[in-house]
Symmetry: C2
Subunit: 336 residues, 2 copies
């Protein structure tokens, strides 16, 4: 059973193991620098469906079912599915869950969903409430673009600080036994809003939440940047990453040498994605792909992942509201 | 620590207590038959704000903060807030959480959110991961109407099987000590879809999920309708309620004498709400008001509450998708 540490952190004592992950990405992500780490690269980002929304739901479904297969389990073995996505009413997740015979907990944390779902999954495992659970999320460039901005057909020009929503889905299967990376701490974030109103600068909107959660994680656990081989934020992009590095240094934490941002890392400089990737799928596929596989091969032993979410809706933005952000942190260890 | 029972149920051993609840409703709900059970009735459903969305967020914020006050606690005492709502990107909850200094887990289960949040809250309490948590949700007739159907100004006619979204917010504070109603079982639902496409007949869309979860609850726990003084579904309305009663009888469970539906109960027959109430706020305010207060006064000792969610989005409906449903059950006991 877990132990509360400080204000926002739980020490997960029972080492729930991430025994399998699965990541699917779109063609553009499959041309980026992390392409070799993904399990499947779509040739067609419609995935044979007749809408982008159905395509997104289908890749989330595939990520979940393929992850279960990879772990040599079946749907019947999974006690809970924790999932969410960016679309209104998390429709990608609801429709994926419809085709699965698994009790379902729907989440919404915008792009923070991968670590939100992994956090709750870890609690359910640690407390003995489940034997196997799946944490998953997805996003799709074209469904997000037309929901939050404009349909692609508009061909609208992109702001230099704008992000490119990742087409991708990631799933993690958490279980009890075996020699696999395991969850050690979870630090649940608070909603932070520093008054950013520009929906084309989500890195700046989310950075305060990431900074707050990282700082709180260090304070709660007594760890420092030296205790980690890698700290990976979700989708702050290159501008949000710079803010995070600088402000954490002001707070006395120099993370620069071990810090990456999934959104900054997923696309190459020649891919015209401006600030970098975003979307629930961004940290999901980088965590399930690049980070998990580098833990399995021994290159990373102690990792802190933080998915980061911008919590606006189109309605809140039209009504002049600023953009709140949230970040949840999960530390994972292997071979320490 | 909890114990798995059957396929979808956890027995919550530590009796997490619901030490306080708070319910706020709109003027129409305040004229209905349950009016004496609500803590606060709005005179103006805009609550002094300049949009219905901001009004909804403000009543959710009030329900949470007033619930904390009623328990003689402060924000600092609350380890987690679990909340969600119907609006795109659960903006009511995100913006309410922005003004609270509490770690936040955002949920989306449509109108199933009250028991979804209470289920996760119970797990966090039972496992020893928290000392005090709040589970909350809200809905607003006017924000839901213009998001899912039409702005009120359209004056569109309502179908006989249509529901009326409840303007209301409910919050429960779950803690460790004291002589209060406590959670005994949670049964987490699966997504069920029996092919209903009519968004004006959500009772029929959600009934299969409610039936499935009730049946599974009985099977997992070995309980029967005789073990309960009340079984209360969330917002099936009068048509969904009839389907649920009839089909459960076919499965061998006659619940009629102890069965109510919050949506069927919240409005009077003269209030022209057709099938009855719906929305996350519907079961929230009835559970926090009528049911909780009747447990405190000893009239109800063993209750099974099920909030029920219809998981469509406007996009999924426009794309010809059917309406999936989900229902999560929580049993609560007091003075047994």
């Amino acid at each position: 059973m877990g132990k509360r540490m400080g204000k926002q952190t739980i020490k997960i004592e029972s080492k729930p193991r991430i025994i399998a992950t699965y990541s699917i990405v779109g063609p553009k992500e499959g041309e980026g620098p992390l392409k070799d780490y993904f399990d499947f690269i779509l040739k067609d980002d419609l995935n044979g469906k007749n809408s982008y929304e159905k395509a997104e739901s289908s890749i989330l479904y595939s990520a979940i079912t393929e992850c279960i297969k990879k772990a040599n389990l079946t749907e019947q073995d999974i006690n809970y599915l924790f999932a969410g996505d960016l679309l209104n009413q998390i429709s990608s997740s609801n429709f994926a869950a419809r085709d699965l015979n698994i009790p379902f907990i729907g989440l919404y944390g915008a792009c923070s969903t991968m670590t939100e779902s992994l956090s709750i999954a870890s609690i359910f495992m640690d407390g003995g409430y489940a034997n196997n659970v799946v944490a998953a999320t997805s996003s799709h460039f074209s469904s997000a673009e037309r929901q939050f901005r404009f349909p692609l057909e508009y061909g609208s020009q992109r702001h230099p600080t704008a992000h490119w929503t990742v087409t991708g889905a990631g799933a993690m299967l958490i279980s009890k036994e075996g020699n696999f990376p395991y969850v050690k701490y979870i630090t649940t974030g608070k909603v932070k809003d520093y008054g950013i109103t520009d929906a084309n600068n989500m890195g700046a909107a989310m950075a305060p939440a990431a900074i707050d959660t990282i700082k709180q994680h260090f304070q709660d656990t007594g760890t420092t940047p030296k205790d980690y081989d890698l700290i990976a934020t979700g989708d702050l992009g290159k501008y949000g990453k710079t803010i995070t590095e600088k402000l954490l240094k002001v707070y006395g934490y120099d993370i620069n040498s071990i810090y990456m941002d999934c959104g900054d890392k997923i696309y190459g400089g020649d891919q015209a994605t401006n600030a970098g990737g975003s979307g629930c799928g961004c940290s999901a596929v980088v965590d399930c792909g690049y980070i998990y596989k580098n833990m399995l091969n021994g290159k990373l032993k102690r990792v802190l992942i933080l998915s980061t979410g911008a919590l606006m809706s189109t309605t809140s933005s039209l009504q002049g509201e600023t953009i709140p952000g949230i970040a949840h942190a999960v530390s994972i260890e292997f071979g320490v």
